[in-house]
Symmetry: C2
Amino acid sequence: MHAVPDGQPNLYGIIREALSRAGKGLRPALCLATCGAYGGNIENALNSAAALEMLHNAFLIHDDVEDLSETRHGSPAVHVEHGLPLAVNTGDAMQALSMRLLRENVRTLGPETAWKIFDEFDHLLLRSLEGQAMELGWIRNNEMLLDTGDYIRMVLLKTGWYSFIHPCRIGAIVAGRGDRDLTPFNEFGLLLGLAFQIHDDVLNLIGTGAYGKELSGDLYEGKRTLMLLHLLENSDAFEKQRMTGILSKARQYRLPSEISWLYGLMRERGSIDFAQSASREFLAAARQFFDSAYRDCPENEHKTFLRQLMDYIVDRDR
Amino acid sequence: MHAVPDGQPNLYGIIREALSRAGKGLRPALCLATCGAYGGNIENALNSAAALEMLHNAFLIHDDVEDLSETRHGSPAVHVEHGLPLAVNTGDAMQALSMRLLRENVRTLGPETAWKIFDEFDHLLLRSLEGQAMELGWIRNNEMLLDTGDYIRMVLLKTGWYSFIHPCRIGAIVAGRGDRDLTPFNEFGLLLGLAFQIHDDVLNLIGTGAYGKELSGDLYEGKRTLMLLHLLENSDAFEKQRMTGILSKARQYRLPSEISWLYGLMRERGSIDFAQSASREFLAAARQFFDSAYRDCPENEHKTFLRQLMDYIVDRDR
């Protein structure tokens, strides 16, 4: 893995360990397949795909610190294994290494395309961190006056741009499409991202052992998921008051019995069914936008792979 | 401040607040003055200088999280004011915004020089994070077998590159010196950085109210300062054992009486005097290297300012 330097075990050793854990590789897959679908040379997209995966893992390490999550990909989170100070520092370095990978694009793609991809990264970085600030602010202020529109806006910022929209756009840019209108990827990526994120939130509640995070972790963290917002809209004044009380406490003071009550109420009011069907509907819409976003691509193995990847997104159990 | 976007108060609001606190502006000053000393147009160095200051503030926010420091520039640290999750997220965004400022260099300096400065940033970023990992590892493992050579190596990595060496190098590059040998700045910056860091560590012990951090914070944090290493070399077996015991405890379990004992012993063994005279010696050496690093600069107001800045570094009380 030449993207990670040798030396300093408390930095590069931790990065190697974090990268060796089984992730889905979703973002590089979207980037490389989109490049291939447009007839581009996939090798030319490798630096950008690696930068996306590096940055994603930086986000995961910092997310786990910020949410105090204890497991990731079935192993202890980096801050649990190495302590919070080294976890924060390691995430910083991975963000820096992702920029170093983009620097390589000058050599392989020339300066103009390299800067274009740099700008895509600039956008996805800040949008993701804005989305994270939005979600952390909701939890911090125990925000209860939220609706599904707020949820969609948050997912677009926090996950949509960096995990779906920009990986596709960058793949197309590497394939020489940088001068065309790239906005069709924005709608496609947002819808696919919503399908993915809602499915992910559902897995956090009802997942099997294959799901590598602690179950109901989102409830303990007070995450404003689509299920929670649905439940808020479908509960009476007494229930709302109890929910507000539970969510206003610091994570470590939330009792298992309170989490069970929340979970049971979600089941009873159909919040989980609602989220599952929302995820399926967003996927169906994403499929339609896929056909228009990729309409000038020939039918090839990459386009077939992208279709399979869409199925995987709501069928996976981890 | 157009370097900070509008919107998202839980992100950009916090960044504005952090940047508005009185910092010394040392890194931008070194960068701009070096550019001016070499006859460059200072305006051309503004983006790079702002990027240095932005990144420095990102480091401060994450450092305070990692060290659990409570005050910064006389105010509560960002993680004390806004909580740890938003503090981590804000630092990430400031690292991203510093890269965005470098992107501006393409427009003002052309792509070749812009990439050269990008490479300087790539180097200073990773070196700083390696130095931080080294220091955090020492604290984490309660490392006691360290000597002054380890300290110098750590300061070079953690502070030397980003605060001294690269600000000067970048100033020279903006002034059109990018093709010359820039290594004389490395020696000069390392020596000035050592003078600065040791003086900073001394201020942490014996500073006045003007110093914006909690006094003796480094002792509570178990920082391996030059004074601590000097004391280790000048204590008997019983004292060494007691020091190891105190330093092995988590920060919150270190008692004020233990910190007083450490401080008193440092006074008694001359560790603070030793550090103060080391700082002065490094400064004297830096002055000699200044003359050679800047020897082909004419005597102008910028060169005069740089000389004053060297004096300030060991005379300041904050």
